[in-house]
Amino acid sequence: MVSITLRVNGTVHQMDVEPRWLLADVLREHLKLTGTHLGCEQGVCGACTVLLNGQPARSCLTLAVTADGADITTVEGLAQNGQLHPIQDAFWQEHALQCGFCTPGFLMTAVHFLQDNPDPTRAEIKEALSGNLCRCTGYQHIVNAVERAAKNLREKSGEKESIQTSTVEG
């Protein structure tokens, strides 16, 4: 057993893990954060995607020991104070999920993507989602949702900026 520390959705956890345990299993079995799903354990489907120090990572291909000291965000960490993240809300409004099994992975991928590229084209969105598989939706509504979320996020940050500007001016 190896002792590691993980900061998950803002909470610090210290725990003993076997060197072979996958990060996905530690999140799911030990921290009971079962929103991170395992669709393939082969690194292909993206259902297990979490943010590891801000970068999307496949928790099925990551050994928990190698994440020692890392800051991790899972799907459970997206909503803040009972408020859905704009990307979650967009998935809901656009019917971007059916069975919902792939959804956490898509959400985490999209969160990171929109930070990098706040005003993407449809083709860029598809490209960004190409590492995630969904068997139910046919992707179209997921792409719609990311488009909608991008717009909402831009408007929100626009609001913030204009508030900031006006404070400066004031």
Binding site: R28, F91, H95, F101, P104, L129, S130, C136, V143
Partner: protein
Amino acid sequence: MTTTKETWVGRGIPRVEDPRLIQGLGEYVSDIHFPGQWAMALVRSPHAHARILEVRTDAARKLSGVHAVISAVDWEDLRQPLPDMKPLSPPALAYERVLYVGQPVVAILADDRYIAEDAADLVEISYQPLTPVVNVEDARQDSVVLHPEFGTNILDYVNFVSGDGQEALKEADHVISATLQMGRVSAQAMEPRGIAALFDEKTQSLMVYHATQSVHRAKERISTFLQMDPNHVHVIAPEIGGGFGVKNGSYPEEVLVSYLAKYFAHPIKWSGDRFEEFLGTYQEREQTHHVQLGIKNDGRIVAFVDTYYQDNGAYPGGGVLVAHNTARNLMGPYRIPHFAIHCYTVMTNKVPQTPYRGAGRPQGHYIIERIMDRAADELGMDRIAIRMKNLVRPQDFPYATGFPGVVYDSGDYPQTFQDLLDIVDVSAFRVRQQQARAQGIRLGLGLANYVEISAGFGFEGVHFRLAADGRIELATGATGQGQGHRTALAQIAADTFEMPLEQIAVVEGDTRRIDKGIGTFGSRTVIMAGNAIVIGGQEFLEKAREAAAKILDVKTTDVVYHQGTFSAPGTSAKSLDWTLLASELQRASHSMPAHEYYFYSNTATYGFGCHGVIVEVNEKTSEIRIPRYVVVHDGGVVVNPLLANGQVIGGVVQGLGSALYEEMRFNENGQPITTSFLAYHLPGAVSVPDIEIHHRNYRAPGNPGGYKGVGEAGIIPSQAVILSAVEDAFRDQGLRLNYAPITPGRLFQAMHREEAKL
């Protein structure tokens, strides 16, 4: 003054299911964790056909953290046949022989899956390999018979004849022949199969959490296998990560987990992984058809003759049903006065077949649509004209296809097809196609029509009850796997009770909440459970009026119900809403109104429509791109257009998978060689176009709600339409495609094969 009543049905509202799912709070079987639970892992056969000589488990047993290593050599109960797989049920654990790669031989129970898999590696099984039978051509010869006690590899033969059958070919001016095939596909829901069970010694009852499409059937199978009183077996389907038909059947893992949880009186869970999903989950589609179409000079069909063989795999897992349903779909939406169909289901050393989304509908339409293309090409006729000539017309309704029980009843097939042609703008496309060709780009247009036959057998029910908080709870045995039934059924109920949606709660997939159920497959749930709400809801309302009468102290006949309120006009009684009714009933210690209603119907519904696709083929790489995909679709009364679109788009994209990429391949020893997402390609976000959907809403005449199925519409003609389009791109070369999927490799071969050309 006329007012239009606002209804919930018909509104594309976002789903009530989603808030939990998008926050990662949905509970799937793999998320269930009983304190101290043991994980089950399976040792599966590496041979397609072999005798088991010896099973040595000592080393595995000794591993720390392992609780049991179980083989049917010493567990006779586990030699019992799996329920519902007659007449050739496999044992729960194979003994003496194995008949497909992936068949479970040894079960291991351990503290966690890591240890269980370590132990699996320590199990030693000696096999004597036998000659594998891996394709129907060999299997039909019966030189090696999989089940000697059955005497033949032909599991089932049935024929269907209408009119003069084969004889009618003589009346044809031309007889067009072709051998058309479809490869094997695998459903590959994102959530692998899984099951967890907990036995309560005190009540002697078994709780099973099961990724199944039918909790009641699972309950029946489990209680049969365990020889338990069904009243002591409870099956719950929590969230299910996609089903597509293959989470519906009888599987070894279902009875193993249930049996072992009871035997050890210890909670046990099996969460399949992706590799097991490729090996052990039942598959579909694989068929070879030898077709003849008799046709007049003017393009009119006189007769259709088809002899086909379905590769069923090693045991009856539902493959026969698929073969028969294929026959039912071979006429498509066309008038075919005479036909003869010979349908063989043949056993091979592969994992069994079971219904997968479409379940014979895609196969039947693939055949009729492709042979129509072939006929048009050979007659020098337009592929559109031949379809227009033969489509069932509105004046033909009710139209009996000649297949027992199938009577098309509604819509306008030719007009809908014409609408598709207009939307696609065929003449403009032909011009573009020419221009592109001049620039070295090959474009092709594919068109296909379909009928989506849904429901038409059995029943589904709803248990209504007034909950303590005043909400109306509806429990149904038809469990969803992502379709959004909790929303759609609530919309139907909200209209039935003239109430806001928030006051309705739908409970799915719990055998404790409703006595009977069949399950969700074949797009039947909204039709069956939806109508149960429409009709049974009135009976429940009657009971609620009786209850209200007691509280209001008036006669039941005095009570009027209107938009959520019970009142007794002309009396001095106050009025009650549901919340008040619930609290008053509780205060008076009266029972809450409850009612169970089952909707039985043998009347199928007949949605229909057509798909049009434009493909762009790279001649050098044989890569096929899809710039445009249009669907014109009739789904009857659509409860929630947002959900219906999701079903159609999702179906089309799955269909594109089986048209372009997906195929389970096996080597000559019956070894599956496509057992990961790297080898078996699912469509991804980049490879699929946005699907354009145009709805037509012809009410189903055969049920009160007017609903039709929408779950298969997207997938039915997808293989037909893609192959048709690719051929069209190479029209000048007379390309002939006879096998789906059309992968780049296969297209390359077809383009470079002389006999592929006219």
